[in-house]
């Protein structure tokens, strides 16, 4: 059966086309683009909440989008056990909805950060299962609020239940920094307890074609397809 997926577009989303292209190129299945005002989503295997500045980051990143018409449908989709992936602003929206723990606050140096970063998997789940335990992925980040923060209790919960999908790490060459944005425990991506919802700050959809300089972003979709 072919893999079906969808990308939600909010006003101000700017990685929606990138996510659509990523899914089309890698899943060989049908890919839908859904406007945030819709109130139903056809049955799909994966929904991506893309990066960008939904509603211009008014109030807080992701806060306005978390109240969109489409959100109850997204919650329903995730409750059925299907996959939900929030990238960058999508991750921020997932924490605002409350589907994922913690919050993404301003980067430690208070500046936007756009560059390649290095991540590795910490706890295994369906999204990262093809990644080897010591494998380092090179994937770009582009965010102003990517500094993951949560309370001690939540952090313990994430660790104890194996919910930390990705952490930032050093690259294989000199001059690479581990804690690029101030995230607690270098966290770059987390899942929910059922591990069918992943939020991550790095952009795998910008690292999968040969001209991208790294194809490491491919492995997430490959893992999901297996």
């Amino acid at each position: 059966m072919s893999f079906k997926s969808a990308v939600i577009t909010f006003p101000g989303s700017n990685c929606d086309r990138d996510a659509l292209t990523y899914l089309k190129d890698l899943t060989n299945g049908e890919v839908l683009n859904i406007w945030h005002e819709e109130t139903s989503i056809p049955a799909v295997d994966l929904i991506i909440l893309p990066g960008g500045f939904s509603f211009g980051d008014y109030l807080r990143s992701g806060a306005m989008a978390s109240k969109s018409n489409i959100i109850p449908e997204i919650i329903k989709h995730s409750e059925s056990g299907k996959f939900l992936l929030g990238i960058c602003n999508g991750f921020q929206i997932l924490t605002e909805i409350g589907l994922l723990k913690g919050a993404l606050i301003q980067n430690k140096n208070l500046k936007f950060l756009g560059k390649d970063c290095f991540i590795r998997k910490k706890h295994e789940n369906k999204f990262n299962k093809f990644i080897k335990q010591d494998q380092v992925l090179q994937i770009p980040v582009a965010h102003n609020e990517g500094n993951f923060y949560c309370g001690e209790e939540d952090l313990k919960h994430l660790n104890d239940n194996g919910l930390i999908a990705f952490e930032y790490c050093k690259g294989s060459f000199s001059n690479s920094d581990e804690n690029i944005n101030g995230s607690i425990n270098n966290i770059a991506g987390i899942t929910n307890e059922q591990k069918n919802i992943l939020g991550m700050m790095p952009h795998p959809e910008r690292a999968y074609q040969s001209f991208h300089g790294s194809k490491d972003g491919k492995i997430i979709i490959e893992s999901l397809l297996s």
């Binding site: 101000g12 990138d18 756009g114 560059k115 060459f173």
Partner: protein
């Protein structure tokens, strides 16, 4: 009207008299405002027009030259590329964050107004000496503003340049360039087609911001001016621009729009006047219909430069459909007038005409000046003693100088990879972006060498064009066309006027020879505070392409052990102005030697050879040699933990500027083939060393690899903090 009022509006008394003689009546305040906005340098090029007319603007790949919102070139099949550069110098000095942000917003609107989807931006920014808090504040604010706007709207920044020099202490420069992809059969122009067509207003509400922005931008600053002028800086909202862009592109692709014009400098005044002028028609606009943020007088509405606004013409029947699409994007939309056959621009308010002017007097009769200019003096040949300079000293002089250091502190604040089509990010000699759903790539660069131009405006300009040309060639991008942003001080000074005239002449000569016509541009004059002029800074943005992404070559070392070949000939240190200045030998402009003549034939021949070698996969990487010489070129090629071992008979040649200078790296077993090819084509070259891991070794002297690399990568941030 009293003289003071006229002068306050930036018009000369003579210009005012011309208008009165033509109209044979007094002007309304609103009409005076219109002339103030339309007859300043920013809008009508009154000082530069005579010279700009001489530029080559056309060849068989130019679809649209200067005169529209952006120039467009043909990239075969149905692909066109629209691009333009524009300055936001004065606003960015007064309010760096908003001034630079709205510069990006404005140039993006110029692109999507033509039906093109913006796919990349570049920025050329210049500041004074970094040792003052003021410069640090400006740098932080400008970079933050550029980043904020571009990141939010989601257009990748793929390159640019920055320079620090004391002549910009009180006049920083912010030039923003944007590139868009357009289908050739879906280009939109500002010319309306139908008499009776509805003029519609799309976008943000109009407020008080930016009133008289364009005339401010054509004025000389005096000290303590900043606080007074701050209210005329516009405030940008990239989220609104994103909605506006998507809304407009959807309207255009639905075939609901006849023509479009963005409300940039001088807002609704210039956009409606341009529209009428292009179509040789009249416009009738009811100012009471304009969506307002706050109560405004007709005068203020006419001159407001509120951002994120568009003017479009639609057929009457399409009103409902247009309204629906814009409602989805939550954008204000209002029918405000219609196209008439009167050839007059008429604005009404409260059922009264407040403006009724023939279009041709505003546009065609705009003043054009032939200002007096002086030619630079002949230079005496001078010798300089450089014997005290050893390798360490020369290296440190470069790595302690902001202008040579890695600028990732700047470009890491920009999103360079959004849209997923970025091939080369900032920090390399060419920014490269792929056309979506295609194998074609576009390369772009911005350049200017103000010191060269100060020494010899004509030749210096040719060097600037050649540097941009080499930047593109070093990635195997074929240069196609140019956009220019001519930043100068006051043209009322005949010396400055001489710089303007001669550098335009240099641009003409080089662009003609290299077959890279000028398709769009912008002029920014009066960049001086009191008597302190900026260095002449005619920035160019050069755009080129390669139709096959697989033929691109890297600007970074690829393999340990590859042979490093230097191409071109050293100008020698006596003829390398940046060498003399940056090695602290001299800085007085009068003391520099005359620039060496530049052989454009030789540049073309060398470029063609490099493109041939790249097409045939005979070189591993390439970089051009310019300011900072071979040494800086090699440092910039460092990637991962690769370094270099090189030997040059004359140590100064490592740091001098070059004729047709490039570095290429070649696999050892291909070296003889490459050298034979270069010799056969009379391209001067020499094997100077090899790529070597974790090593920097020059003329047998070993340097600490990690120390040098660390300085190059980290010193910028250390110096500015």
């Amino acid at each position: 009207m009293n003289d003071e009022l006229i002068l306050q509006h930036g018009l000369t008394l003579n210009e005012f008299q011309i208008i009165k003689d033509y109209l044979k009546r007094d002007l309304t305040m609103e009409e005076l405002g219109i002339f103030s906005a339309m007859w300043n340098e920013h809008c009508c090029y009154k000082t530069s027009k005579k010279w700009l007319k001489k530029l080559p603007t056309n060849n068989d790949v130019v679809i649209q030259g200067p005169g529209e919102n952006a120039g467009i070139i043909d990239l075969e099949d149905n692909d066109g590329v629209a691009f333009k550069i524009e300055s936001h110098n004065h606003p960015s000095y007064i309010e760096p964050f908003n001034g630079s942000a709205t510069g990006v917003g404005g140039i993006l609107r110029d692109i999507f107004t033509m039906g093109a989807r913006p796919i990349a931006t570049l920025d050329s920014i210049r500041f004074g000496e970094i040792n003052t808090d003021k410069t640090k504040y400006l740098l932080n604010g400008v970079v933050h503003g550029i980043g904020h706007y571009g990141n939010c709207i989601g257009i990748p920044n793929i390159g640019g340049e920055s320079e620090f020099d004391s002549t910009y202490d009180f006049n920083n420069l912010v030039n923003a360039m944007a590139i868009g992809h357009v289908k050739k059969d879906a280009i939109f122009y500002s010319k309306p087609k139908t008499i009776g067509g509805l003029i519609v207003y799309i976008g943000s509400k109009t407020g008080k911001d930016g009133i008289h922005g364009a005339s401010m931008a054509s004025d000389v600053f005096s000290e303590n001016d900043e606080d007074d002028k701050r209210p005329s800086v516009q405030v940008g909202d990239p989220f609104m621009e994103k909605l506006l862009m998507e809304g407009c592109l959807e309207l255009m692709s639905s075939g609901l729009i006849e023509s479009m014009q963005d409300m940039g400098a001088a807002g609704i005044t210039s956009s409606s006047v341009e529209m009428a002028s292009k179509g040789n028609v009249g416009v009738l606009i009811d100012l009471d219909k304009i969506p307002l943020r706050q109560p405004l007088s007709p005068y203020e509405i006419l001159l407001s430069e509120s951002q994120e606004r568009m003017l479009a013409v639609i057929e009457k029947d399409n009103d409902t459909k247009v309204r629906e699409i814009l409602k989805k994007w939550q954008i204000d939309y209002e029918v405000i007038g219609e196209i008439t056959d009167s050839k007059n621009v008429v604005f009404t308010s409260k059922n009264k005409q407040v403006v009724n002017l023939p279009v041709n007097i505003i546009v065609d009769d705009a003043p054009e000046y032939d200002r007096e200019f002086y030619l630079p003096r002949k230079r005496n040949k001078k010798d300089f003693d450089c014997t005290h300079l050893n390798l360490e000293k020369m290296i440190n002089n470069l790595l302690d100088n902001l202008n040579y250091l890695d600028k990732s502190w700047i470009y890491n604040q920009y999103d360079s990879t959004v849209m997923g089509d970025t091939v080369k990010e900032p920090g390399q000699s060419t920014g490269i972006i792929k056309l979506h759903d295609s194998q074609k790539v576009i390369g772009a660069t911005t350049d200017c060498n103000p010191l060269y131009i100060r020494i010899n405006p004509e030749l210096g300009m040719i060097y600037t064009v050649v540097e941009a040309y080499r930047n593109l060639i070093s990635s195997n991008i074929k240069p196609i066309a140019i956009t220019n942003n001519l930043n100068f001080a006051s043209p009322l000074d005949p010396n400055i006027m001489g710089e303007i005239v001669l550098s335009i002449n240099g641009l003409k000569k080089s662009a003609s020879k290299l077959n890279t016509p000028i398709v769009s541009g912008n002029v920014s004059l009066y960049n001086q505070t009191n008597d302190l002029p900026i260095n002449p800074t005619p920035v160019i943005g050069m755009v080129g392409s390669n139709l096959n992404i697989n033929k691109i070559i890297s600007n970074k070392f690829q393999n340990d052990g590859d042979i490093i070949v230097s191409i071109g000939e050293s100008l020698g240190y006596l003829n390398s102005p940046y060498f003399l200045k940056d090695q602290k030998i001299t800085k007085e402009i009068n003391t520099f030697n005359e620039l060496e003549d530049i052989d454009l034939e030789n540049e073309i021949l060398t470029a063609n050879s490099i493109m041939y070698l790249a097409d045939n996969k005979m070189i591993q990487s390439c970089n051009d040699v310019f300011r900072g010489g071979i040494f800086m070129s090699l440092i910039k090629m460092i990637e991962k933990d690769y370094g270099f071992t090189v030997d040059l008979p004359n140590k100064f040649d490592l740091f001098c500027e070059y004729r047709a200078g490039y570095i290429i790296t070649v696999k050892e077993d291909e070296l003889s083939k490459v050298c034979n090819y270069l010799s056969k084509n009379n391209v001067s070259h020499s094997n100077i060393g090899l790529v070597s891991n974790e090593t920097i070794k020059i003329n047998s002297k070993v340097f600490d690899y990690f120390e040098i690399k660390g300085k190059y990568l980290d010193n910028f941030e250390k110096i500015i903090n």
